[in-house]
Every structure is written in C-alpha cells, then in structure tokens.
C-alpha cells in the first residue's frame, strides 16, 4: 500500500467533516462548531403577596345603637351595663353573606370590626382581677351574662330588630340558619345557641381565654381551655374534650333556667349552667354525642413540610 492510496481516503473523511460541522449548520442556521449551553427558561422568583389594606375604623361619633344590658350576676345581684354598636357596623354585618362551613364559624367570633365592642364590653363585665378566685368569678359573670340573653330560634322574626328575616338567612332542611356576628346578637338582644356560643367565644377571646366552638348535630356550645378544672362545689364530673392535646371544658351559652322567687314575686332566681356540666343539660345530643371541635382560629397548617436534601451524582456541581 502506498501513501497515494491513503490520501483520497483522508480527503474524503475531511470533506465529510466539513460538510457535517460547517456546511449543514450554516444551511440550517445552527451555531457552527460545538453546541453552546442549551438556553433554559428563567428560573421562578418568589414574589411575596402585597400587604393587605388596613381597615378604616368606624367613627366614634357616628350614629350608633346603644343597648342597656341587664343580667343576674354570680352573687345574685342584678347588674347593668351599656353597649354601643356603630350603626354602620351593624348594617354591614346584616349585609355580609353567612358562612356555610361550620369549621369557619370562628370568623364570626373573632371578626376584627366587632373586636373593639367586645373588648370594651368584656372588660366592663369582667375587669382584671387581683387573684385567681376573683378572676374565676368574673369569668362566670361573663358566662352568666351571655346565658341570660333570651333564646329565640333563627326562623322566628322576633330574633331580629327589623322584624323580618335578614336577606342572608339561609333556608336549610328543617328551618332557617342565620349565624349572628357578636354585634348583631348584642343589638338584637336575642339569638339562638350558635349565636350565644359565638358571642361568648368572642368575649372570652377578648379577655385572653382560649376557646373553641363545640358543634353537635342540633346544638352548639363553647369549650374553654382549662387544666385540671374541678371546683369544690361541683356535684358532677366536669366534662372536657381534648383537641390538639389541650382540654376544653363544656360551657353552655343558652338555657339559663330561672324561676320566680315566689308565686307573687316577679323576681327571678337564676340557675345557670356551670362550666363542665353536660349531664344537667336538657339537650339529649349534649349528653350522648361527641361534638365537632371548631377552633376559633382555624388556619390550615401542613403536618409535613420538610425538604429532604439529596446526594448529588459524582461530577455534579
């Protein structure tokens, strides 16, 4: 074999290389030579949400509904106080659609615009106490106050100061559903069990207590968080429900039973439902059912959110 035989082979190879690396890319508009890095899309960037606008408070000197509230306190005396609800707030509440999902009803109790009214009322009913015993009596005063608000079911137009059903009252199987915001309950001066539980939850939350709503098939009550609650006077075993490792004792929001002191006296003697007493309840579901626990603050939180770092392949950056 001579060199002159090899040269045409090499020349042919060279031509093929030139065609593959130069001519074809030039014709197809591809980059000549070794391909550069493949263009990649721009990686996503985190964009935080815009801050929410601050709500404008209701003017203090605007028109308001002023209600005088009267109740029998834990010492048997009659107490009165006044509550002032801006009319604009009340009307806005009446125009707010109701929440169908019971798990979100804590939003009624904690409604931001109702909060100043509740904080003011809660402090007047249960001002800060010097010792735990006094504090407990004041808590009970607040419970008794709510329990004494007359019970009127949602489908009764007497429950509303307008004398008609609000437009957001929902027709449900067996009647009408209309959960009241706390200020609605205070202005109407009436409500049903869920309205009372919502109002009581809002008032106790304003005082710093941790509460939940207790939802039964035909009733609603409140649970108040306490540890080792077992008062000396109780002739019952206080009933509590455990939620996320905490004990919430049953508190009735309605059904304040009362009777006349005598047949001739118009004065009533109160007989409230104490904390934890479910056996004395006239409502069968309270005695037999385990309620749905509805936290006032129901913020969905994932159980698992741990990213597991992985080992990189050899040669990775």
């Amino acid at each position: 074999m001579e060199w002159k035989d090899v040269i045409p082979v090499l020349a042919g190879g060279l031509v093929i290389l030139v065609v593959a690396l130069v001519v074809k890319p030039a014709l197809l508009g591809e980059p000549i030579g070794s391909p550069g890095p493949v263009p990649t899309p721009v990686p996503p960037v985190y964009v935080p949400p815009p801050p929410s606008p601050t709500a404008t408070p209701y003017p203090e000197d605007g028109p308001a509904s002023i209600r005088t509230l009267r109740w029998t306190s834990i010492d048997g005396g009659v107490r009165t106080t006044e509550v002032r609800v801006p009319e604009a707030l009340f009307l806005e509440r009446r125009e707010t659609p109701r929440i169908a999902d019971r798990l979100a009803w804590g939003r009624y109790a904690l409604a931001d615009a109702d909060r100043p009214v509740l904080e003011d009322l809660a402090r007047r009913i249960a001002p800060p106490a010097a010792n735990p015993e006094e504090q407990y009596f004041r808590l009970m005063d607040l419970v008794f106050f709510v329990q004494q608000i007359p019970y009127v079911p949602d489908n009764n137009t007497d429950s509303y100061i307008e004398g008609v059903l609000p437009r957001h009252a929902r027709q449900v199987v067996g009647g009408v559903e209309y959960q009241k915001y706390p200020v609605e309950m205070l202005v109407d001066g009436k409500g049903d069990c869920e309205d009372a539980a919502i109002l009581m939850g809002g008032l106790l939350d304003a005082l710093g207590y941790d509460t939940v709503l207790l939802g039964y098939s035909d009733h609603m009550a409140l649970g108040i968080r306490m540890e080792g609650f077992n008062p000396y006077y109780a002739k019952y075993t206080p009933k509590y429900f455990t939620y996320k490792g905490k004990h919430y004792y049953y508190v009735e929001g309605t059904a304040f039973t009362r009777k006349n002191l005598s047949t001739t006296s118009p004065v009533f003697q109160g007989s409230p439902f104490p904390i934890g007493n479910t056996q004395g309840s006239p409502i069968p579901s309270v005695k037999s059912e385990t309620p749905q626990i509805i936290p006032l603050r129901s913020i969905p939180t994932p159980e698992d959110y741990q990213i597991h770092p992985v080992r990189l392949p050899a040669g990775g950056v």
Partner: protein
Amino acid sequence: MDLKIPSLPKVAIGWRKALTAVGVAALVVAVAFIGWTLFTVYTEERQVAAFGSHVAASEADLARVSGLVASHLGSRPDRLSVAGADASMREFAAIADHGRAVTAYHRGIIGADTVPEAYAGAQSAYIRALDHLNRAFSLWSSAATAYNANACTAAEENLARADQAWGEYALAVGDYDRELRAAEEGGEAPPV
C-alpha cells in the same frame, strides 16, 4: 463469433505487503474502537455532570423554598386576628405557588436531560420526587383558595392530601438515593 477476452495482469502481492495492509487495517479498527470508547465515556461523563448540576440547582432552589416555608410557618403567632390569619394565608399561598413553579421548572430541565442508562433510575426517581412535591404545593395552593372562600373543611382536606403527597415525595427521595448508589457502584438498586 470470436470473443476476445482481454488478459488481466497478474496480481503479484508479496507476503510483506499483505501483512502491512492487514496491520494497517487492524490499527484503524483499534483506533476507531478506542476512539469510540473514549468518546462514549466522555459523553456519559458530560451527561452525568449535566444531570448532577441540574439536580444541584434544583436542590439549591428547593432549599430556598424550604427556608421560606419554615420561616413562614415558624413565625405564625398563636393568637392571630382574622386579618392577620388572612394575611398569613396569602403568604402561604404565595409560597405554595412559588414552590409549584420551582418544582415544575426543575422537573422540565431534569426531565429533558439525557443520562446514561445506569442513571435512568435515579433520574426517574428524582423526577417523581419533584412531581410529588409539585402536587403537594398545588394542594397547598388549593387549600389557601378554599380558606379564602371560608371553606375550611375543604382546606383541611386539601392539606391532608398534600401531607400524603409529601410522604410520597420522601419515599421517592429514598428511591433516588438507592438508584444513584447503584448507578455509581454498578449493579442494580437494592430492594426497598
């Protein structure tokens, strides 16, 4: 008719020339084989390096998302107002959307990688992990949307499904580690 068949010249190749030709041919085959082998090894190394750098970029972005999540969930106060809770959920939704975008982005890049056959299992497991994470973030986002519509029950259900997807992500990460070890050590991935 008389046919005239031209006489062919007699080919006379000596043993020396024949051996030289065979030797050159063998050399060409050997060079081609070695060249092809070197080229294949080089290509595979480049593919693994590219896959590795893409996984590294994905991990870096996921670590940033993880930091955002941990910082957000760790700083939630116990007693939020309704407005505070709503603002917190808006931030949760923004992080979920970001997590979804990050996982989709890296899934696209790593899914387009060409890897040696030995690394196909690791690549597939990593893509699966990103898919599960993407689903978990999507469910977080759905939970936030449901929360905004006052549908807390639906929000909780979405989060429960997200927790399940997160568990599947953790399993896929385990698969990836096993497959990667098998690819680097040779042989098949050990059973779970």
